[in-house]
């Protein structure tokens, strides 16, 4: 095994960066939910790491990134289950590759965050056990196949998944695989679970905007690994992806708060945090295929479009609680389609020329097919998975538990102790359990 140590170091670091994005999502979403359900919201992200990380190593990596025989266009095989025998394999044996296990770990973090993103649509109301089951089934039946469609390339030209290798649609770091996929799945689950009690009469304002900003900041930091790490090497492609990730995000954050100022009268922190994420999402598929000026254009468009898209749920009446559809699905579509306009081989030989670089409309067409296929497959299969879980074990908590708050009813915890009677020890009834009390020597009145 001959490997490139610089590239290996960069992808190892990128892997850690991308894993940090999932706790980032937890803060981003946690801050937007209500105080009585913030723990559950954050738990849904954290448990994705616990389940999807394991499933990925056991078999899902193999389903996504190995040769699938007769079904190779649509799904991989099980030849690399358990990563048996991958210990000494490199992605390229000519000294330009990285250890295969580093690639496996890097991709694991993508699968994890994609699942975590979906949870934003079902804040406050999903049974925790049902969600845990969903993460495993969804990673298997939806994420792995779509990753295979877009990112598995066989040894021969045109061999591999039907969207990437077959059709030639571009998705550098996961606009379709991660964001459109998660967004469409989120929409499906929002339909399966229904609206939160009280929505939309009560818009259910975020309980901690500093958390939202903290989460957005962690996401942005981790996203450099997401995008620039997807070059799988410490090279010029990583550099292009890095600068584009930075500048598109800046532009999108700016565009979102300008829209807010014009439309609502105030630029808000939730707005700038949302703009940051919208920009990150939109540049993800395009980051290694466009110039930095192109990245600014993508950011400006994505920031403005997503700022309007988040109000769709009020018009159409589905409770996508934390705007996964408006930010990730719409942002992903914007980025994936703008590749067809703005891509240029001037920055990356491995890309293609879009409309403005003289490539005509063919790339835009391929992008559109990739987007549409992902939307339809993800929505339909997720809806079926959600319905089956709902009809068997139930996907939604009881109305009583929802009103009381899912943190205390599902997790036996509450996030905050705000002081007052129950915190100060003055009769709150929050002392140790009877077993612990038996040990103390407080005198008690003895019955005669």
């Amino acid at each position: 095994m001959k490997i490139d140590s610089g590239s290996t170091a960069w992808v190892l670091i990128s892997t850690a960066l991308v894993l940090l994005m999932t706790p980032g999502v937890a803060f981003f979403y946690g801050g937007m939910s209500r105080a009585k359900s913030v723990l559950n919201m954050m738990m849904m992200s954290f448990v994705s790491m616990a389940t999807v990380g394991v499933v990925w190593v056991l078999y899902a990596y193999s389903l996504a990134f190995t040769e699938g025989g007769g079904l190779n266009q649509f799904v991989g095989g099980l030849s690399d289950w358990g990563l048996v025998g991958l210990e000494t394999v490199a992605t390229a044996d000519d000294g330009s590759g990285i250890p295969q296990l580093v690639f496996v770990a890097f991709q694991a973090t993508f699968a994890i965050i994609t699942v975590a993103l979906i949870s934003g649509a079902i804040a406050d109301r999903a049974k925790f056990g049902a969600w845990v089951l969903f993460t495993v089934v969804w990673a298997t039946l939806v994420y792995a196949p779509i990753a295979h469609w877009v990112w598995f390339f066989g040894p021969e030209d045109g061999e591999g998944g039907w969207i990437g290798a077959g059709l030639g649609a571009l998705d550098f770091a996961g606009g379709t695989v991660v964001h459109i996929n998660a967004g469409a799945a989120a929409l499906a689950l929002a339909f399966v679970l229904g609206k939160r009690k009280g929505w939309p009469r009560d818009p259910m304002r975020p309980h901690n905007l500093p958390f939202v900003l903290l989460g957005a900041a962690l996401l942005w930091f981790g996203w450099f690994g997401f995008n620039a790490g997807s070059a799988l090497g410490a090279n010029a492609t990583a550099a292009v992806a890095f600068i584009n990730t930075m500048v598109a995000t800046c532009a999108a954050a700016f565009a979102w708060i300008v829209v807010e100022k014009l439309r609502d009268g105030s630029s808000t922190t939730l707005g700038i945090a949302s703009g940051v994420v919208a920009g990150l999402v939109a540049i993800t598929p395009a980051c290694a295929f466009v110039t930095p000026i192109g990245a600014i254009v993508i950011g400006l468009i994505a920031g403005a479009v997503c700022a309007y898209a988040v109000s769709l749920k009020y018009k159409l009446g589905y409770d996508d609680s934390l705007d996964v559809v408006g930010v990730h699905m719409v942002g992903g579509i914007v980025g994936a389609l703008l590749i067809g306009i703005l891509a240029t081989t001037a920055v990356n030989d491995a890309g293609a020329d879009g409309l403005l670089a003289g490539g005509g409309l063919s790339l835009l067409g391929k992008q559109a097919v990739g987007v549409l296929a992902t939307l339809v497959y993800s929505f339909v299969v997720t809806f079926v998975i959600g319905k089956v879980i709902d009809l068997t074990m139930g996907f939604r908590i009881s109305e009583e538990d929802e009103v009381a708050g899912i943190d205390s009813t599902a997790h036996a915890e509450t996030a905050y102790d705000f002081g007052g009677i129950h915190a100060g020890g003055a009769g709150g009834g929050t002392g140790p359990l009877p077993a612990a009390k038996a040990a103390d020597s407080t005198p008690t009145k003895v019955e005669a």
């Binding site: 939309p200 818009p203 304002r205 975020p206 807010e260 439309r263 609502d264 009268g265 105030s266 808000t268 939730l270 707005g271 949302s274 700022a307 988040v310 109000s311 009020y314 705007d323 408006g326």
Partner: protein
Amino acid sequence: MKLITAVIKPFKLDEVKAALETFGVKGMTVSEASGYGRQKGHTEVYRGAEYKVDLVPKLRVEVLVDDDDADDVIDVIVKAAQTGKIGDGKVWAVPVETVIRVRTGETGAEAL
């Protein structure tokens, strides 16, 4: 005796307190309150969704005074709490039957 209750804008507390001290009132109870009058509350916007906050934060100041002082004390509070803008609050007085100082057991005017 009278119990005078004033609901005022929070930033006016210092002025009301100083004015009452100057007048000679020896004690008061202040608590946080929220409510609304004719002006209602304010609007917050989250991702374009409007959230109406009806209840505006206020402070409730309570003072026990002798019947003879009641009108003057009300006057002092109103002058100190006034900004002339909407939401300045209300002041009212109700008769009090008994007042007892817990430490000594004194009652009536002695207890003030």
